[in-house]
Symmetry: C2
Subunit: 245 residues, 2 copies
Amino acid sequence: MADQQAFFDLLDIMESEEAVEQKRFFALMRSAFRIANLLYVDVELLSRGFRVHRIHHTFDTSLVDAYLDKDAGCIDAVLRMASSDVRPIDLADARRRYPDSEALFQAALHFGLPPEGIILPLSAPTRRCARLVIQTDIGAGEWTAYRRCHLRDFQLLANLFHASLLESDERFTDRVQPGAALTNRETEVLGWAAAGKSYWEIATILGISERTVRFFMTNARRKLNVVSNTQAVAQAVRHALIPIS
Amino acid sequence: MADQQAFFDLLDIMESEEAVEQKRFFALMRSAFRIANLLYVDVELLSRGFRVHRIHHTFDTSLVDAYLDKDAGCIDAVLRMASSDVRPIDLADARRRYPDSEALFQAALHFGLPPEGIILPLSAPTRRCARLVIQTDIGAGEWTAYRRCHLRDFQLLANLFHASLLESDERFTDRVQPGAALTNRETEVLGWAAAGKSYWEIATILGISERTVRFFMTNARRKLNVVSNTQAVAQAVRHALIPIS
DNA sequence: CGTTAACCTGTCACTACCGACAGTTTTGCG
DNA sequence: CGCAAAACTGTCGGTAGTGACAGGTTAACG
């Protein structure tokens, strides 16, 4: 419990300052706790592959870059593993539960990085997935006690850091939709089109004429500023105008 | 710091047990901390409105239900406000920053519920948004100190509870895609269709014949088990086969 | 060297979509 | 009641998407 004060100092910094720089946060964390390395990732996970929005870490740059190029498949598996769980996961547990990640841990060991540490879940905006990985040099025996004592500290500080990054991100403010809002009928018709129904089918379902369905769809296309039903539906799904259902 | 032991006891429970029941967690939290009420929500936020996946709370049922029916617009605004921030937000701050929520706080006050407490962000799967709201009877002056001391406890325990709920949820395991995976070209063509391009345009862009574009699209439709390009693109966006871009 | 999968192409007939023409009716609000 | 916005309808002509016909080429793998 020696670093209680260090935590509270760090908490005050994270809560009081507008934006905490990534390097500063990593440095503060490393001085406040017995942390060897930190890795922060914010990605958009796709069915195949992923798009990195942000990645920051304190590992050797050449090591990480080399690995990213060499074995993207393994990185992909590790990301998918980490994102499928919203619980803090111990690195040792991750290694045990997901054999695909073994290559990564082997490479880390080769560089003198023992597999002790934890992956913390972070609340990301729609379709994104962010995690903070903390790696330590503490032995497995001692780590259990240290983790129990400081997990809450790690999780909260990680959340605050992550929030700080998101807030400083312009892209996070693109919530506002351009153009006018769709009417109920327009949304409804879009939803059925997304379900693969033709104009005739939608007309039958809604009990209106086929011409009217086209009327709504045309209005929706105009409002969304798109050229085809297909693009309109893509937009609607992306902007959550229609539910997953 | 009197309830330090209570926190660690609770942490051990949350970490050791497979699934912690919602009522039990709420009871444990209320006995371990000076918490008056808890509210957990997990929703899918749409451009207009929302779909509730889960909602649990310790407030008076009639109060919440009545409010949900009466003023969905306000609830909507509050949800949107809470989800736009991934930082823990004090209820008092939320009230100050978002005038739309005033009606809700007024109603709460009317039922003897003071606006002290916090909204905790939770990491949810794609397109979902989950939050745990903690409300206390502690006075505003004392709350600041109590909050500083226990925010980390609240955040970590909330995360673990949330993870426990998600894990027990069948729907969370629907990650597996039915049918075969799309090839690179099929995905590529779908992406352009989602961008509103016609077959002819896609053919020109990719430098192949229009017929070939149709070939890929037909294969994609067959693999996704859909009947139109529109439905195929809707599926592709929903299942993150193609990026937001 | 055979097999498989991905990638690529042409044509025909049909149906669905889409823009532009020109309206009516209903609903909600000040 | 007047007005605006939403909901609703008909028809025409052109373009785009769709299924089914029947192929060829290239790269990877055992």
